[in-house]
């Protein structure tokens, strides 16, 4: 039986306000049964709300796929059982790209901010059924979708192949051949989500920064900048991730993150980290 659509990687339950092509507010209830809801998935939820506004604005001819994110600030963690209050402001939107900023809050307190993101628009029909998305948007704008369908991401094999504590780390990621999230991302063309890759790269950067040589026992991510996805990552692909950490200055360390397939850089980002409380 195929995995259901709008379940394993859909992070907007309801859109409570939508000013066409301009802005939107929405909510997503993180199921209490999941172990965690990483910051990269919170960013994904904000991006998905922007994608709904963008697809609606161009009458579902295209959808944003992959992304550039100038800056994402991590202000606090999201916890299972909490409800994310999502907001996006669309700066520009046409058939070529959507530019937006946005945030996610919990109980009125902002936990993540996305600044100047850009999603290239690609033909929607290559990735999903336009009618299914129209119906879904109508549902989200009406009574909302049933919450609680997200069951966690599951294990994605990551092998650290080289590490110099406090300086650098290399690892390989085996993108699964099949996973529930591919049913959402996307039904007609499976693409490994950029935000899942970002989550894995950030975890590796935190590993690299952990220890007496760097940021102590519990480093935390402050912000990620220059996020750029250069190409689609398909199921079964192997990714080589590199983390290079600069020495901490004023308590903040900067890491350069790259993911390659062969010699080709498919994703890159810069991460700022600090010692945890």
């Amino acid at each position: 039986m195929p995995e259901p659509h709008f379940a394993a990687y859909s992070f907007v339950d309801r859109i409570v306000e939508l000013v066409p092509g301009r802005r939107a507010r929405g909510v997503f209830a993180i199921p209490a049964r999941v172990d965690e809801f990483p910051a990269a998935l919170v960013a994904e939820a904000v991006g998905q709300l922007a994608a709904w506004v963008a697809m609606d604005a161009i009458d579902f001819r295209g959808r944003p796929v992959a992304a550039l994110a100038t800056e994402t600030r991590f202000l606090a963690d999201a916890k299972p059982g909490q409800t994310l209050e999502l907001t996006v402001d669309i700066q520009e939107c046409d058939d070529d790209a959507v530019a937006y900023s946005g945030s996610a809050c919990v109980d009125g307190r902002c936990i993540i901010e996305l600044v100047d993101c850009l999603g290239p628009m690609l033909p929607l029909g290559d990735f999903d059924a336009p009618e299914a998305l129209r119906e879904r948007l109508a549902l989200l704008r009406g009574k909302g979708a049933p919450p609680g369908r997200f069951a966690g991401i599951g294990d994605i094999p990551v092998t650290v192949t080289h590490q110099v504590p406090g300086h650098e780390l290399a690892a390989s990621i085996a993108v699964p051949a099949a996973a529930p999230f591919f049913a959402d991302h996307f039904p007609r063309r499976a693409v490994f989500p950029a935000t899942l890759l970002l989550d894995l790269m950030m975890r590796l950067a935190l590993d690299a920064a952990r220890g007496p040589h760097a940021l102590g026992r519990s480093p935390r991510a402050l912000r990620v900048t220059h996020v750029k996805m250069r190409s689609f990552i398909a199921p079964s692909q192997r990714l080589d991730v590199g983390v290079t950490l600069d020495p901490a200055r004023d308590g903040i360390a900067r890491a350069m993150l790259t993911a390659k397939t062969g010699e080709r850089v498919v994703a890159s980002a810069r991460l700022e980290l600090a010692a945890g409380a």
Binding site: L68, D94, D96, A97, D116, H226, K228, M229, R230
Partner: protein, 140 residues
């Protein structure tokens, strides 16, 4: 649409900020950005980088550059059917292209030239001209 003339002084006036913006987008040192370097062949830029650069330049200069329309702009007043046929730039199209991309060395215009290969000709100077034209259009 008549092409807006751009002088060398106007290019040099915006060049430092354009180079800095491009270096940030491409993740390289600003010293690696030379006015006439091919962005694709010399700096490994890809299509997503072009989108990134245009987005950053728009914010840096507070201008609007029509995304995805740079090649279209290069066509100028020439109808598409006269500019290219079956994805190959026509003789007339090449004359227009050489004029539009006057900063690009003549030997870099290959014949036959595929329309898809036009971005290979783009240099930082090409983007300086885009910025200056956008500034003039905004002020017009």
């Amino acid at each position: 649409m008549a092409e807006i003339a751009v002088t060398q002084d106007e290019i040099m006036a915006v060049y430092p900020k354009v180079a800095e913006t491009m270096a940030d987008a491409l993740g390289c040192d600003v010293e690696d950005i030379k006015p006439d370097v091919s962005l694709i062949e010399g700096l490994d830029a890809e299509s997503i980088d072009f989108l990134d650069m245009v987005f950053r330049l728009e914010r840096a200069f507070k201008i609007k550059i029509p995304r995805g329309k740079i090649v279209e702009n290069a066509r100028g007043d020439l109808p598409e059917s006269e500019f290219e046929q079956n994805g190959i730039v026509t003789e007339k199209g090449l004359v227009q292209l050489r004029e539009y991309l006057s900063e690009v060395a003549a030997d870099r215009f290959k014949t036959p030239m595929k329309v898809a290969d036009i971005p290979r000709l783009f240099t930082p100077t090409t983007f300086c001209k885009l910025v200056v034209r956008a500034q003039k259009e905004a002020g017009a």
